[in-house]
């Protein structure tokens, strides 16, 4: 891609991307930040935000620490040891990524609540489980798999040859890990910790379900709107939340920039990692086993509850909960989830690909700004994003627009960073001479992009599509201010059913929602394998 003036098609595409980003990413957020206006002073001096802020920071520190520690052990075990059952652990580790994070809270209430299966059913106790400890425990279980994925990614990218070289120079396994692996992956680990902290900070569903009187920023913002209709104060709280998340995110970007140690060559090193002692493998196996047992307990209880009449009181098998989920407003929500998720995933991944191409391959001033704007939604709490859309597009003249369309658009742009970063990573793997070869054969930049780069970026496109779909069907906070009775979605219904203590319906709905995400992921795995098989037959 050379000069924009010489290729009007590219210029047009760029203008379109910039316009959409301005309208759907920048504008809503600016609106939220500006909403309180002169009310900022009163709100800040009233000080009602101080406690939730302190609570948010406290719970963020606690949950991030435990989630990262556990995630690290899990990741180390998966990447470094030769323990048994790795594929099984990997599968279980993915499960929480495919479900709305707040289902852990739901299962927690179901298992350990005042009428919980274990607390009341087994021990006959009715403990108070709501509050800081509840959130901490639930978020640890809900977010350690995220930490695990991020850390495993960093560890597996560290070059096995370096470790072999260190072993060859006489260092033992522990000293190799301490003096080679850790220093090399430190920026990546830092970024993983910060990302986990952002997830925890932005979490709305878990604190909403098990927080009780322990209010954090997202639940305070939600309460201000749903309880008092106080949009200015909610916007102010959300802005505090956004500032925190942005600080964490900017720190993460800095660390990512310093990740130059880790080789990103695109091809996995074929050299095996040096072996670790057998006892260590066994310890790791035991820890992973215990963690997976916990996850299975969470999801198992959901599944059992979904198939029994009123678990645990009446454990007669029934499919009535599923019939309920497929009928009436629930059926509508399910259909909406599917339609919105697929549409958003398709548009988001394609738009992200085009935007990534314009930023990564283009030579024009301002691309760094666009790059930042396309990544920023990753730092924006879903609740903030949702309030932004509710504020910015809740205009009378826009009533002709179906609210479902607005939800889809919010999902598209909230998830843009996913597809965008996958596409940028993909483009970095493709040498520019590919573009130039197409150009030198007479293809315009856009034509070359379509004919050469897009087919080669199939992998990135699939990752973007599936991840966006999974995030779209599992998000609660983005849509909670946008839905109407006709445009409700699965996560909203699950949240409402849990609040109504309709456990059968809620768990059946959760099982189906997770099922959707699993099908999507499975389809991608099959597609990817097909590609690998095709590649093998060519070799």
């Amino acid at each position: 891609m050379r000069s924009l003036q010489r290729e009007p098609g590219v210029l047009l595409a760029l203008l379109a991307v910039v316009a959409l980003v301005a309208i759907f990413i920048v504008y809503p957020q600016v609106r939220v930040v500006l909403t309180p206006g002169s009310a900022y002073g009163d709100f800040l001096s009233a000080g009602s935000w101080v406690r939730p802020l302190g609570n948010s920071l406290q719970v963020m520190a606690l949950s991030t620490t435990t989630a990262v520690l556990i995630g690290f052990v899990f990741a180390y075990a998966m990447v470094y040891t030769d323990m048994q059952w790795k594929p099984f652990f990997r599968l279980i580790g993915i499960l929480p990524l495919l479900s709305p994070p707040f289902v852990v809270a739901a299962a927690y209430v179901l298992l350990f609540g005042p009428r919980g299966i274990i607390t009341y059913g087994v021990f006959g106790q009715t403990p108070i489980i709501f509050g800081l400890l509840g959130i901490w425990g639930v978020q640890t279980i809900a977010f350690f798999p995220f930490a695990y994925q991020l850390i495993a990614d960093v560890l597996s990218r560290s070059d096995a040859r370096m470790e072999q070289a260190a072993r060859n120079l006489g260092a033992g396994p522990w000293s190799v890990f301490r003096t080679v692996t850790l220093p090399l992956s430190r920026p990546g680990l830092g970024a993983a910790i910060l990302t986990t902290a952002i997830y925890v900070l932005e979490d709305f569903g878990n604190p909403a379900l098990v927080g009780g009187q322990f209010t954090v920023l997202p639940t305070q913002a939600y309460g201000l709107i749903s309880g008092f209709g106080d949009l200015p104060s909610a916007a102010a709280v959300s802005t505090i939340l956004l500032s925190l998340a942005l600080v964490l995110y900017l720190a993460k970007i800095r660390l990512d920039g310093g990740q130059s140690f880790v080789t990103v060559s695109g091809r996995a090193s074929s050299m095996p990692r040096p072996p670790v002692p057998a006892w260590l493998s066994w310890v790791c196996f035991a820890v992973c086993g215990a963690l997976c047992a916990m996850i299975l307990l969470v999801y198992g209880s959901l599944v059992v509850s979904a198939f029994t009449l009123t678990f645990p009181v009446n454990t007669a098998f029934t499919t009535s909960h599923f019939e309920y989920v497929f009928s009436g407003v629930n059926g509508v929500a399910l259909r909406n989830t599917l339609v919105y998720g697929l549409t958003a995933a398709a548009f988001s991944s394609l738009f992200a690909l085009l935007a990534a191409w314009l930023v990564q391959r283009g030579i024009w001033s301002g691309r760094r700004i666009l790059d930042f704007l396309l990544i920023m939604p990753a730092a924006v709490p879903g609740l903030f994003f949702g309030i932004g859309y509710a504020t910015a597009f809740n205009e009378q003249w826009m009533d002709w627009l179906n609210r479902g369309v607005l939800i889809i658009i919010s999902m598209i742009f909230w998830n843009i960073p996913v597809g965008y970063q996958a596409a940028v990573a993909g483009l970095r793997q493709i040498d520019r001479t590919m573009d130039e070869a197409a150009t030198s054969l007479g293809a315009s930049s856009l034509r070359g992009f379509r004919d050469v780069l897009v087919p080669m970026l199939g992998g990135s496109l699939r990752v973007g599509f599936v991840t966006t779909f999974v995030r779209a069907v599992t998000t609660l906070s983005v849509v909670i201010f946008l839905f109407t009775p006709g445009t409700t979605v699965a996560t909203i219904r699950i949240f409402q059913l849990v609040n109504d203590l309709d456990w059968g319906g809620a768990t059946a709905f959760t099982v189906i929602d997770i099922g959707l995400a699993m099908v999507a992921l499975g389809a991608m795995a099959v597609l990817a394998r097909g590609r690998i098989a095709l590649g093998a037959s060519r070799a």
């Binding site: 000069s3 001479t433 590919m434 070869a437 030198s440 054969l441 007479g442 087919p455």
Partner: protein, 361 residues
């Protein structure tokens, strides 16, 4: 018919900067139509940048690029008709050989049947008939290189740009494909602009060579001129092995100069265009193969330099000697080492004065 000397490509004072570095600095040259032109130089000399400006991948900061009499600075790369063969071939991995070759025709809107025929013909032409349905990763390096050439040639471009197309191949194949490329170019009568850092390649392929260094063209001319009459020590040193001996002009008579070096002096011809004055520092430039070793007692024609063999290396087709003459090492190549006994100890280095070239310092 166009006259053979017609200028096909002309660069006029072309400059390209990347930030603080000037990659190409005020470069001008002309390439006649139908010639095999080579930009030769070490890495970072600006040769590839120059080629990419011709292709339209970079815009020059100053100067004009004129192709076929038309200034093409403002023409987007895909409208220039300057097909390019890339160093790593840049074959599209998701297209078969046929699809790769057909791509440019498809973009140009050439109808199906015609396209098929031309793809088929060009694959035959580059010796890949029957491999059309293969994927690029099923081909050897040499075959991939042919696909890259075929893919560019099928468009019948005005001019073919080649960016180190042989550098990824092993030595034997590289030499073989060198002859094929040259034969192809002569058969088609097409203008080739070829970039390489390999002086053997440049010398053996080209009608015309521009040697670049630090963003500038140091010298341009035929391979013969470049090799035997380099204008700078950089050039002499870059193109092949060379002895560069510092000396001083002692006497000037017509086009002959007496140059003093060490404790000796020789009379040599002054190259045209080189202005010398008595007392001027110069360098004597002698190729190792222009020198001969003789036993110390021998009395050959020309200049005789008594010396001692310091070390030697057997290179297969020749024996390379480092001979110390007046405390300075001279490189001397003896061809066909198997035909005669090795030299050792004291020797006489013999050279004919007409084989000594003078470079101003």
């Amino acid at each position: 018919m166009r006259s053979p000397s017609e200028v096909h490509l002309r660069l006029e004072h072309v400059t390209k900067r990347f930030g603080e570095t000037t990659a190409v600095n005020d470069v001008s040259f002309e390439v006649p139509r139908g010639s095999f032109a080579t930009l030769l130089g070490p890495s970072g000399c600006g040769k590839t940048t120059t080629l990419r400006m011709i292709a339209g991948f970079y815009d020059p900061d100053h100067g004009d690029i004129v192709l076929g009499g038309k200034r093409i600075n403002e023409l987007p790369a895909h409208r220039r008709g300057t097909a390019m063969v890339f160093q790593d071939y840049a074959l599209f991995p998701h297209m078969t050989v046929k699809e790769n070759v057909a791509y440019g025709l498809r973009v140009a809107g050439v109808p199906g049947a015609d396209r098929e025929r031309r793809v088929h013909d060009i694959l035959q032409f580059v010796g890949l008939g029957g491999l059309g349905d293969r994927w690029p990763n099923q081909l050897s390096g040499g075959q991939q290189q042919r696909v890259a050439v075929g893919r560019a040639l099928v468009l019948e471009p005005q001019i073919l740009l080649l960016d180190e197309p042989l550098s990824n191949l092993d030595a034997k194949l590289r030499v073989q494909l060198r002859w094929e490329l040259r034969a192809l170019q002569q058969r088609l009568g097409m203008t080739f602009v070829y970039v390489t850092h390999d002086q053997d390649e440049a010398l053996s392929l080209s009608d015309w060579i521009a040697v670049m260094n630090a963003g500038k063209v140091e010298q341009a001319g035929t391979p013969w001129e470049i090799y035997y009459h380099p204008r700078t020590s950089f050039l002499a040193d870059f193109v092949g092995a060379v002895n560069l001996v510092p000396g001083t002009v002692q006497k000037l008579t017509g086009d002959e100069a007496v140059i003093a070096f060490g404790s000796r002096a020789i009379a040599v011809r002054v190259p045209s265009g080189l202005a010398l004055a008595v007392g001027r520092e110069v360098r004597l430039c002698v190729r190792p193969e222009a020198l001969a070793l003789r036993p110390p007692s021998a009395d050959p024609d020309g200049v005789r330099l008594p010396g001692v063999v310091a070390r030697r290396a057997f290179l297969g087709d020749l024996m390379r000697y480092w001979v110390t003459v007046d405390g300075r090492e001279w490189i001397v190549d003896q061809p066909d080492p198997g035909a005669a006994a090795d030299f050792d100890g004291p020797v006489t280095v013999a050279v004919k004065p007409e084989r000594i070239h003078v470079i101003a310092e």
